[in-house]
Symmetry: D2
Subunit: 413 residues, 4 copies
């Protein structure tokens, strides 16, 4: 048999392909000539499986979809404090508030608006980086996320530079407020190059899945960024990614997302999937019309929603088996807070005594740090109740099993 997911994606394409509302961006010739009928969808799981349908392998310039990824790169290169010094993390609210600098600090309100994205680009690498170095860094980082070597579309870049007045205005203004001191034209040229990187819907899905996966690229297995950088990036994308319609998008779709003027759209559901869509016709907010609808469909059909209450909650304790001379506690799944809370709750029912308690963790996928700590605390308390503790962990799922008082469980083979 074949997995039905690609067919499902194809169904979405078939259903939405008749939507021909909106217009291809026309402010530069290289975007205006895009084929408006193109439509591709890709979905990548944190497990590293990628499903595609339609024109998911057609290249287009990434444009504003680059913003969250380069924000992650800046956090990586400069640290949270330095980046937050220059760019805020608040939604900018009204769309017509076109510059969205904070009233007193003159920081751009967030990295998803142009002022913030230009500042973010300027932060790459460090204070003494050259323009070329910053561009090379952006290309390299996005390539790492996509798992293939990405290229800049020089023709798109040149066209955009010809009509870059708004971005030049922002860059001069940011210089004026000393948000940075790099030359306005140099920064805008670099930012425009970043926006001209060619990607596919498949790339976006994989790049998104890396954010969904705590920074680990699910195909290469590389830890492209630490978990806290991925989390901060997703938080800001959730709060500010959809411009002035943040609240409606949140309640109606519930997938943190970012769109670009060339018709690309990125969606990310933490711990689950990255989504990439490509369809060039835009609505009045500048979002891909079919991209928005595709996200809405996936959210509804697949129950992909940040506020879905069903994401977590598998029982972590598969079984507690009482033998004559042993109590066997079988754990399973990913042990995060709710799971560990469930474990220690179950352990409460074990009476004090001297029966050995064996923790069988072979079926555990992973202990998060909080889950590890709470499980070990449970062991420590059982030990205080008189029980010898044993651990059956042939694959070493539970690292450093120190119960906190210097005692370790007896290892079973």
């Amino acid at each position: 048999m074949r997995t039905p997911v690609p067919e499902y994606l194809q169904e979405v394409i078939d259903d939405l392909t008749d939507i021909r509302d909106g217009d291809v961006a026309d402010y530069i010739p290289d975007l205006a000539t895009a084929d408006p009928e193109r439509f591709g969808i890709a979905l990548a799981t944190v497990g590293g499986r990628v499903h595609v349908a339609g024109d998911a392998d057609v290249e287009f310039s990434i444009q504003s979809v680059s913003k969250p990824f380069v924000y992650a790169a800046a956090l990586l290169d400069r640290g949270f404090e330095r980046v937050l010094d220059s760019v805020g993390a608040e939604p900018s609210g009204e769309a017509f508030d076109e510059l969205s600098l904070e009233a007193d600090s003159h920081r751009p309100k967030n990295p998803m608006i142009n002022a913030g994205a230009i500042t973010t680009h300027q932060l790459l690498l460090g204070e003494h980086a050259t323009g070329e170095e910053r561009v090379a860094r952006a290309v390299e980082f996005l390539s790492e996320l996509a798992g293939r070597r990405l290229e800049i579309d020089e023709s798109v870049k040149r066209s955009e530079l010809d009509t870059a007045d708004r971005n030049l205005a922002l860059a001069h203004l940011l210089r004026n407020y000393r948000v940075f001191s790099t030359g306005a034209h140099e920064v805008v040229e670099g930012y425009t190059a970043q926006c001209s990187i060619l990607v596919t819907a498949r790339d976006l899905a994989v790049m998104g899945a890396t954010l969904a996966n705590g920074g680990v690229q699910p195909l290469t297995g590389a830890q492209v960024m630490p978990g806290d950088v991925a989390r901060q990036t997703l938080s800001v994308m959730a709060a500010a990614g959809m411009y002035d319609a943040a609240g409606t998008w949140f309640s109606g779709v519930g997938i943190p997302a970012k769109s670009g003027v060339s018709g690309g759209m990125l969606g990310v559901l933490p711990g689950q999937v990255g989504i990439g869509v490509f369809s060039p016709r835009l609505d009045s907010h500048g979002n891909s019309v079919r991209g928005v609808e595709a996200c809405r469909r996936l959210s509804t059909d697949m129950n992909l929603h940040l506020m879905a209450s069903d994401a977590a909650g598998s029982a972590s304790v598969r079984d507690i088996e009482y033998d004559d001379n042993e109590i066997r506690v079988v754990l399973q799944g990913t042990i995060q807070f709710s799971g560990a809370e469930n474990i220690v709750d179950r352990l409460q029912h074990i009476e004090p005594g001297d029966t050995t308690i064996l923790f069988d963790v072979r079926r555990v996928d992973r202990f998060l740090d909080v889950g590890r700590r709470m499980t070990l605390e449970g062991m420590r308390r059982l030990r205080l109740d008189g029980h010898p503790i044993a651990l059956y962990d042939p694959d070493q799922r539970l690292p450093s099993p120190d119960m906190g008082d210097g005692h370790f469980p007896e290892q079973r083979a």
Copy 2:
């Protein structure tokens, strides 16, 4: 042994109790006389376990923390369309934009600001409800969420009515814009009664856990509201609950939350927990100083964050066992989209043939609809490959196992 969670909560209290910044709300005598040293924390899981520490059973008036719950009641009573007609779902942005009505429609921007909450209260039950009926409805609904009979503090209510000018201004303005036509004083009196309902930190945790649990009260098991109402409520709370600091709260804490002027604070992590905190000293935004810190601590220590990538992801396929005359597929956990996607991915590796394939779903906690549909689709495809399909489901975890083509798997006992 005893679960360490209450001790952990006590530790948080001990660590934060020295924070004495901020001031008790003083605009009415009944709030001004609150004991500023009070500090209670409660945490309720979607599994129905409640952990408390400190003054978690001290009563205080719920104030603005009532807003999300009454919003849920209004959605329930009047439907999404009617409610969204009168109240938006967007963050209101700037704090000084004190009225936060939308420019054209004059709808309040969201139900978390006073204008929206007053309108939401007015929507309860229906057009012809009296003031008393709306108040009774609010008390009843919040009681259902808390799992106990809540009462109004009449003294607090009377005091607040004496200084209700701002709310009266809002109500008159809403009447002026025809958002509603009920008398301004009647609506404000009802809304003030709603804010005067007495709750404890424990109550808030349980009420929050109900939202986290898709609307099912985890102690009583009652479906207090449908899942989509819980989801909409959480979405709006996430987007607008923390007023003008939404983005910073989002990235820094990542728990949808709502605070009240009496020092109460509610936090909800979908699918996991509800949190209630009570500590009367407020910061300049009107949020409980220790409440904010407690949420931050829980987020950090317990990895409770909406963007945490680790929430989901347990393997749904426990095992595929090849026998001579049968292939046994053992499923486990909650089967949502990522899980089902994983199942059908694994099924792809089964070659066409006539061996019976037995699905053992005893260890499955629950099939979400998307998981059920995808699993059945997998069965259908295997059947088309020649395999007879059997199902071992003594507890009927998989409802209506129609493979979509009129065929059902053979039921095993």
Copy 3:
């Protein structure tokens, strides 16, 4: 012969009567039933002549045109400092900024918007005035300005109170910010009574001429208010009277003006005329369509514009006649700064010597204080040059002619 001014006004009416754009205010029945064809114009000079045409003697409720006059009354009753403490003097800018309270102080931005006008009404008389006393004060003051006993239209007042939600909202908000502590409903009832005072276009012209005339009612000769109150009132009316179109009105028409929702319109050109227009159809800003056009016509045709450079400038020195034994300086007109500056300039050409210099001031209309001081300073200097000074002033146009050094000119009979 008859003065052509009324015929000119009639011509304006004839030319504009075909304009039937706009709609009669319909939010209360008493305004909605106004005859939309009514059209009256009146013009009153500071000299006390009144010219009228059309329906200039038809009564209508004064509405917002009462605002500048009651502002003058409040300045009179409470002093500048107290009034400016509660109400600002800045334009409010954007029309949709509906409340227009200052960000920090929460003062209404100016007395021409409703929030400011309600506050101004509340300031009448003093802190302990009752609602009835404030209303009586408004009626009495406006009557004094009009030169006849004005009455309240009780039916209009009652109708407006039925739909006074916006004003009630403002009053509650002002109470909330402690701009005042009088009951919101009492203040709004008083303000509504003030707006329901019946006037005619003729009344408005005369009331405006009183402001134009430094506070002296030009028909009765009564000093209704000091010159600085009239000036402050006109300044605020010029800055804020035309809501968000202040600049365009200023450059295009140049007559400080205020309009009301019943179709009344007031225009004032300092030192020259008061204008009253009545025509009930309103444009989208709520200004009388024909009222606006009539002001524009008068501005263009009559050169009535605040920035007209030709208003002043008559030569103040009619003649300097050299006799054998006397130099006769003949002054004329109103001697303000420019005039006095012209006088002392001319006096410079008189050589030192002992010839008596006689100042003939019979033709002077009036010395402003600055003109009196400068003229006396000129005399003092001539005296220091050796000239005896004499004054021919049978009507005592030059009060207290002390040259500043204890010397007085010799008085001629």
Copy 4:
């Protein structure tokens, strides 16, 4: 004797010289090194007399004080319609609204803010003018107003260009919104050159007096611009010249004014005087501290206030003398609307009959067009009453004395 005006100005300087609040602008070295103690005042009358005190002949760069004058030049070069197409005439309100472009049209709100001034500079001469030509035009026009050849301070210009980021931001933004298409850097260089023109307080006073005098330079007698251009310029300056304190300035000082960052300040009272002040220390709004105070003093002491009700009002009819065979009407002063209205009012008292009526206009300074028309209409009506009309006008003060019906008065010698 000598006129006391310069001594009065010196007194103002002496009184205010102890004010040392504020700071010299320090954003470029050439301004930062200005001597903060400099203080000069000049006052020029529409009659062409100039009085000065202190450092009134010290040169400084004109900066923003150039804005109203170049606005006049643009109106002259391009016409009202073209200029108003690109730049509005409304106050910009809030100071922090830093760009002040209109929401829909993206026109700068007025020519007194930088965005508007840059656009105004760009409008000079015509669409095909070069950068140098526009600068030459600005220098030439300001020189004509000052009555002497002005020069650019090249060092100031170069320094300002080094820190011109804010203006470059505005120029790029204006290009982005297609307010103009000239290169951003070219326009900003030209505008900076305009701001670097060297003037003295005396120059500003004379330039202001030209605006006060309906566009006629009072020293050279040249009509530098038509009256309607001067009026529009003053209107916009009154509405928008003092940034966000427009209303307070209006009511407190009442002199349309414009200040510059180098410490220059211009004030204009239509029909009366131009004022120039120079003192480099600035308040937080960027206005010269002593300049503001000097204007306030002049307003108070000299009764120079736009809303002063005493400016006009000299009787226009000096006398009506009844002879046996003639009625002699002696007119005087400047005959504008109020004056002419007064004349026709007086003529009403002449009974019908066949006595010749002789108009003696020797003492008339000037007939405005409205005054001329109304006086001739009075003659026509007297003629219809039977009176032959004669005119004694040896200096031809009354041009084209056609009574409107083809009849002319008999000319007396």
